[in-house]
């Protein structure tokens, strides 16, 4: 079962994605990329052999910015990205999780930061980063 594809398909349900890439994509305004983090690790094992694991991923977004005082353009873009964090939080609250299959039970999905983080910039484009974590139980087979 390809968890990366499952999570990517689940993310695509967020209606505000214009262009969503996987790992690599064009660096242009509005482009976003889903980047799985290599951390699908066991954090604990119970006495029946069931393993609690973490699956982490990031979503990066490229947006133009301006340096004009009192401009609301940057804030508007930032708020658009905040919607993704809010959307994940809402999905977690309503337990609408990616389906990892019958041997896996997702416990929660959470954002690791409450606001988008600026990861880099050049003259025209800023790169924003949002990181998320899925806690799930892989049942002993």
């Amino acid at each position: 079962m390809d968890k990366n594809k499952i999570v990517l398909d689940w993310l695509k349900e967020f209606e505000n994605f214009d262009k969503l890439y996987f790992n690599f994509g064009d660096v242009e305004h509005g482009a976003m990329a889903f980047i799985p983090t290599p951390t699908d690790r066991v954090i604990k094992t119970d006495i029946l052999g069931n393993q609690t694991k973490l699956y982490k991923f990031a979503v990066t977004a490229f947006l133009t910015f301006d340096t004009i005082p009192n401009s609301s353009s940057n804030l508007v873009d930032y708020s658009q990205l905040q919607l993704l964090i809010n959307w994940v939080s809402e999905r977690n609250k309503n337990k609408i999780f990616p389906d990892f299959g019958k041997d896996c039970e997702v416990e929660k999905i959470e954002s690791l930061q409450n606001v988008p983080q600026i990861a880099g910039q050049n003259e025209n484009i800023a790169q924003y980063l949002m990181q998320f974590q899925i806690t799930y139980i892989e049942k002993e087979n």
Binding site: K44, D46, I47, L48, G49, N50, E140
Partner: protein, 222 residues
């Protein structure tokens, strides 16, 4: 003398037994002493990271005039705690315990049949048998007490099991949470003897030291 044929663990030399091979299951169906009806063995311990059967041996030490110490084990009073035992939908044991608490029917805490399965000992190990025979012991009339109810993020109900030592030895075909577990007592007459039917005389294999009987003893009146 052992009731089992196995002379070793179902493990390769020096191989460690994984914790998941020692399983505790509670009967939430009909008693094993019922000649009809079906037990329902529910494996417990999901979400519990660490739990051990504490044997609590009651020992006496005597050192004689030669300086030799002799230790006598008088009894074992096994107990097992499971924490956190998070309340989950479909868990019949925690539902039963909650029901007992609600009715304050405390005597019902002592009516549980609890089975310990040692899946690292298998009567079928090394044989061509298609059905496993994991060693199992069913303790009748065990006491399961909830220690608390609450916790932080989820509702937990940690429990303590006091094993009765009134045990029936046998084997099971499976041991995993998702399996349907069937317990087969070693004593083939286990259920029939509980209904009062004629019992066979114990053979030498049952460690009585007597000569094996070749026929059932009867008395006749003249």
């Amino acid at each position: 003398m052992s009731e089992y044929a196995s002379t070793g663990f179902a493990l390769n030399d020096n191989q460690k037994a994984e914790r998941k091979l020692l399983v505790t299951a509670v009967n939430m169906g009909d008693s094993i002493t019922d000649s009809t009806g079906t037990p329902n063995w529910v494996v417990i311990g999901a979400g519990v990271e660490d739990s051990s059967i504490e044997y609590n041996p009651d020992t006496e030490k005597v050192t004689d005039i030669l300086g030799i110490t002799e230790t006598t084990v008088n009894k074992l009073e096994p107990e097992q705690s499971l924490d956190p035992m998070t309340v989950r939908g479909g868990n019949p044991l925690l539902f039963k315990l909650t029901d007992i608490i609600e009715r304050n029917a405390v005597s019902e805490f002592s009516l549980f049949e609890v089975m310990i399965i040692r899946a690292y000992i298998d009567e079928a190990y090394g044989k061509a048998a298609s059905v496993h025979g994991y060693h199992a012991e069913v303790h009748k009339n065990c006491t399961i007490t909830p220690e608390s109810n609450g916790g932080d993020a989820y509702v937990d109900m940690p429990i303590t099991i006091a094993y009765s030592n009134d045990k029936v030895l046998g084997t099971t075909n499976a041991y995993k949470f998702s399996d349907t577990i069937e317990f087969t007592p070693n004593d083939a007459n286990f259920n029939s003897s509980s209904t009062g039917e004629e019992e066979t005389i114990p053979s030498e294999d049952e460690n009585t030291g007597e000569e094996p009987a070749t026929e059932t003893e009867t008395t006749t009146e003249t």
